[in-house]
């Protein structure tokens, strides 16, 4: 039997007759949590969020309550809240649904969070391509302001805060929180060096700033509703709440599915929820958390110890979908973008595709990423074009090793993890590619297969 979805954030997504205007939202119990929140003490809300154990949904999975705790409140500078709606990790498409279909949920979550951290002003940084989403948000904010859910003296509480929607201009790096802040301030989105520019102390306009993902901020609303402990009951300890898995690739029913953490295994997600692979195909590999997550090979055995000490021995289908389990198998849940590949996939081409993306999106600020990532792209592109060499696999690995951990922001890792994991798990295919091309060249055949990258 297919596991049941736990729809918390996506409760009304795709619901018949549910519209994204404020009346529909209020009719369905909307803004009740904000009304409740403004009667609470801000520090109590922060405590509830910490108790809930909710982890950031943007990729790193850092506990949101902890992040809020790092806020520098002594500086006397205004505090800002920024919603990161620059959803650009390939394979991820959850925030878009929230913004398009349930924008008021985000606004309510944001205002609860803003009240909790006593933010002076809140921003939504939305990626430039989400033009429709931008218009929807602007309208929703106008509606909420009319009803005094944001703006001056919210619901008579004496607390005032507004939301400004800022459109990006189409750069992946704007999803990195300090890059986002630079862009918000009107500069090139060059991520800042940490230390000293930790957003919680020196963020937007050098003021303490909290940057949270859309889904994380929506969770805040639900934490207020059910209390920190109530929220923590969903999922397993350390992996609380629900996750929206965006499944794409070679499955029958790609789409977004919301499950409580650990409620579903990767196998169930692929075969039961998404209807399995296309007829006659076999599972080859899965990238479980957006394109920067390390790839998992279908015929691998994953053994080791979880954080709590329990040993595991899983096949790919047994992996529970939550933060810690995916971490334990050497990948990450990231932004929840599950990319499924069946046995028709050419791994070299898949990696060439990923490298193309990251080389295009590197901001160019620091050396290893600026020079290394495009180099990897050039290598994989050459391999696909028919000039593969057997030593290229090792070269790629070596380049990636020189990037990861040496850069200003996490982009270095995001770009090198795919290469490191593809080579670690499918090196034979990379070598085979070179041999195959050499053989064809010998026979005077066309060397490269006809493929087009993007």
């Amino acid at each position: 039997m297919a596991p049941q979805e736990t729809r918390l954030i996506f409760k009304h997504i795709d619901e018949e007759g549910y519209t994204n205007d404020i009346d529909c939202y209020v009719k369905n119990g909307g803004y009740e949590q904000l009304k409740k929140a403004v009667t609470m003490k801000p520090e109590d809300i922060c405590a509830e969020v910490l108790t809930s154990g909710v982890r950031g949904r943007g990729g790193a999975g850092f506990p949101a309550g902890m992040k809020w705790k790092f806020l520098d409140r002594k500086s006397g500078k205004p505090i800002y809240l920024v919603c990161n709606a620059d959803e650009s990790e390939p394979g991820t498409f959850k925030d878009r649904q929230i913004i398009h279909q349930d924008p008021h949920q985000l606004i309510e979550g944001m205002m609860c969070a803003a009240f909790a951290i006593q933010a002076k002003l809140a921003f939504i940084y939305i990626r430039g391509e989400f033009f429709q989403g931008y218009k929807i948000l602007e309208r929703a904010i106008e509606e909420a302001r009319e009803k005094n859910f944001l703006g001056d003296n919210i619901l008579g509480s004496g607390y005032s805060c507004d939301i400004i929607v800022h459109r990006g201009a189409g750069a992946y790096i704007c999803g990195e929180e300090t890059g986002l802040i630079e862009s918000l301030e009107g500069f090139r989105a060059n991520p800042r060096i940490k230390p000293p520019y930790f957003p919680a102390a020196l963020g937007a306009y050098q003021c303490p700033t909290i940057v949270n993902n859309v889904e994380t901020l929506c969770d805040v609303k639900h934490i207020i509703e059910m209390g920190g402990e109530g929220f923590a009951k969903i999922g397993t300890p350390g992996n609380t709440g629900t996750r929206i898995w965006c499944v794409s690739g070679h499955v029958q029913k790609p789409g977004y599915y919301e499950f409580a953490c650990s409620d579903v295994t990767l196998g169930q997600l692929i075969y039961d929820v998404c209807g399995g692979l296309k007829p006659g195909r076999k599972l080859k590999a899965v990238i479980p958390g957006g394109s920067s997550a390390k790839i998992l090979r279908a015929d691998e055995r994953f053994t080791g110890k979880l954080k709590d000490g329990t040993e595991f021995d899983w096949g790919i289908e047994d992996i529970p979908m939550d933060f810690d389990s995916l971490m334990a198998v050497g990948s990450m849940s990231g932004s929840g973008g599950v990319i499924v590949m069946d046995d028709t996939t050419d791994m070299v081409e898949a990696l060439a595709n990923i490298n193309y993306f990251y080389a295009h999106e590197s901001c160019g600020q620091c050396t290893p990423c600026r020079e290394g990532v495009p180099w990897m792209r050039k290598v994989t592109q050459r391999m696909v074009d028919g000039e593969a060499r057997e030593e290229d696999a090792d070269l790629l690995k070596s380049i990636a090793d020189q990037i990861a951990g040496r850069t200003i922001c996490a982009f270095g890792e995001a770009a090198s993890w795919p290469v490191q994991s593809f080579i670690a798990k499918f090196k034979d295919e990379f070598v085979e590619k070179a041999k195959e091309q050499a053989a064809r060249r010998k026979e005077g055949q066309e060397v490269a297969k006809e493929t087009t990258l993007i």
Partner: protein, 584 residues
């Protein structure tokens, strides 16, 4: 002066060696303090600019003493020594500030490997055109590639193509392919020059340095971007392709453009100057200087340079002109028009000459607008020297006019004028008036006054002689001979001794500059008795200025000088400057 005594010192451990460094100093500077030529290689970090952290060359391993999270107790190893928690990833030295107990490894496997990686990355798209690159010989990329590179390339793909020979401004040419995008020039223009004209366009590996649309890099500090460019991307249009830097001799000098007295380095070969660059002095000019100050040396070769000792237009020997001058001066009724362009030593002699000939002394001001940075309102290098040597006691009139002298000429009170480097015809004294008097002219270049002068004594430019200047903050700074002067022309004070000594019925002494200093320290209260020219420290010596605080100097606040603050600190018991003088 002495940073350590002001800032709290802490102990950190660099490569197993405990070192005392000021708290909060970054690791690059801390390692530099260890000495022994130890250096953390870096490109984007510059001590006088904000930290960008983008080149990733200065990676070091960092660890802190471990403490128990709960109790805060130190965690000890089996030997009872506190364990060090090393960070799993290397960290950049420029943005890591020293804190007590910090451990740093600058040469571990991880550090070496990450430097190798960065070096390889920087070179893959670099044109490797060192043989035709002006930066060769003083290129950080070249040096570090030799030191940290792998020696061969694994890159077989096509290199990126970027613009070559871009004109960024009137004095700077850019080769984008060589640029390693360290952003030093951008930060300099924005933070120091205050003219935010440079920026990167395009993204990732195609990032390109350029001027903002409609702008150009034309501010008066643009050549500093060339100095701080760690590679051959920004080059001086003037110096480009002129000379290999390793052929050039470097001489420490002082910029004569204004009373700031920027410390400079003269780069010369076989008696010819090729360029002037700033020399670091944190109390004067940091590491910067103006563009306009860098071209002053070109006057050396100008056609109107005075190269001959003459009397009434006839070439004579130096002894003959000195004797002629002495004769004129002994007749009394002399006026001396002195110069704040003269060195302290020369002014000392002029003071003696004025005293011995009973001359009235005037000094002409050269004031103009300052830029608030390194170009002050007073466009002479040594007005303070004229005060300290007692040549003048009041500041010159703001307006550059010699009305009193004109009256004296007309009334016949002055019969001889001894002019140093000024053109009197521009100062209200016409040629007809000059015809009424005898004129002794000392100067580097010909002008309308020298044309009518009875005695002409050619003088050396600052690049051709030894000496000192006293700048706006009463700092004595030394300059040395970089190139020889015109053939047969003696250093000014040798000629002046030939005039000053006979005026007092003394024998002309063969003087070295240290001999001049011996005389000066006995006569000038501000000079420390023990000090000699050859022993002056490179950064100069701050003098006690308390005797001159009532004077209304024209300089307004600039990069390193605040007249109000200077007055306050100088008025306080002159302890600081005195100690510095002895220390030196």
């Amino acid at each position: 002066m002495n940073i350590q005594s002001i800032v709290e010192n802490i102990t950190i451990n660099i490569d197993g060696q405990d070192v005392e460094v000021p708290k909060g100093i970054n690791i690059i500077e801390a390692v530099k303090m260890v000495g022994k030529g130890k250096e953390v290689p870096h490109y984007c970090y510059h001590p006088k600019l904000s930290v960008a952290g983008n080149c990733r060359m200065c990676m070091v391993e960092m660890g802190m003493p471990m403490r128990d999270r709960g109790t805060g107790e130190p965690i000890l190893d089996e030997n009872g020594v506190q364990k060090i928690g090393w960070m799993p990833k290397p960290t950049i030295g420029c943005a890591t500030n020293a804190s007590p107990g910090m451990h740093i490894r600058t040469n571990s496997e991880m550090v070496k490997e990450s430097r190798n990686g960065v070096t390889e990355f920087l070179l893959i798209n670099h044109p490797l055109d060192c043989p035709i690159c002006d930066q060769a010989g003083e290129c950080r990329l070249q040096e570090f590639s030799a030191e940290h590179g792998r020696g061969y390339s694994r890159f077989i793909e096509k290199k990126n193509v970027k613009p070559k020979r871009t004109t960024l401004g009137p004095r700077v040419t850019l080769d984008d392919e060589r640029c390693i995008l360290c952003s030093r020039c951008i930060r300099f223009s924005k933070e120091v020059a205050g003219d935010d004209v440079l920026g990167f366009v395009d993204r990732g590996t195609y990032s390109t340095l350029t001027c903002f649309p409609g702008k150009e890099l034309s501010h008066n500090y643009s050549l500093n971007t060339v100095d701080i460019c760690p590679v051959g991307a920004l080059t001086s249009t003037d110096f480009r392709f002129k000379m290999r830097v390793w052929f050039l001799k470097r001489t420490h000098s002082i910029c004569t453009e204004s009373s700031v007295g920027a410390n400079t380095e003269i780069w010369s070969r076989e008696g010819k100057i090729y360029r002037i660059t700033p020399r670091r002095n944190d109390a004067v000019n940091d590491t910067w200087m103006t563009d306009s100050g860098r071209v002053l040396y070109k006057a050396i070769e100008s056609d109107d340079r005075l190269t001959q000792y003459t009397i009434e237009g006839v070439h004579k020997t130096v002894d003959e002109v000195a004797a002629a001058a002495v004769e004129l001066l002994q007749a009394r009724e002399v006026a001396l028009v002195a110069s704040a362009h003269s060195s302290v030593e020369e002014q000392f002699f002029y003071q003696s000459i004025a005293q011995r000939s009973g001359a009235t002394v005037s000094l002409v001001s050269h004031y103009a607008e300052g830029d608030g940075l390194l170009l002050s309102e007073d466009r002479t290098p040594n007005l303070r020297g004229a005060l300290v040597t007692g040549l003048i006691h009041q500041l010159p009139e703001r307006e550059a006019k010699l009305e009193a002298l004109a009256r004296d000429i007309n009334s016949g009170a002055v019969k001889t004028i001894f002019v140093v480097n000024e053109d009197l015809t521009k100062l209200g004294i016409h040629k007809e008036m000059l015809a009424k008097v005898k004129v002794i002219y000392v100067g580097t270049h010909a002008n309308e006054t020298s044309e009518v002068a009875n005695v002409v004594i050619p003088s050396l430019m600052v690049y051709e002689k030894d000496g000192t200047f006293i700048n706006q903050s009463f700092r004595v700074q030394r300059f040395k001979t970089a190139v020889p002067g015109p053939r047969g022309v003696l250093s000014d004070f040798h000629v002046l001794e030939r005039i000053a000594a006979p005026l007092a019925q003394e024998k002309v002494a063969p003087l070295s500059i240290d001999d001049v200093w011996e005389r000066m320290v006995s006569r000038i209260a501000q000079f420390d008795a023990a000090i000699r020219w050859s022993a002056l420290p490179e950064e100069g010596v701050a003098l006690d200025a308390s005797a001159f605080l009532d004077l209304n100097f024209v300089e307004s606040k600039n990069l390193k000088f605040d007249p109000v603050a200077f007055k306050e600190t100088s008025a306080a018991p002159a302890e600081t400057s005195a100690t510095i003088a002895t220390e030196a």
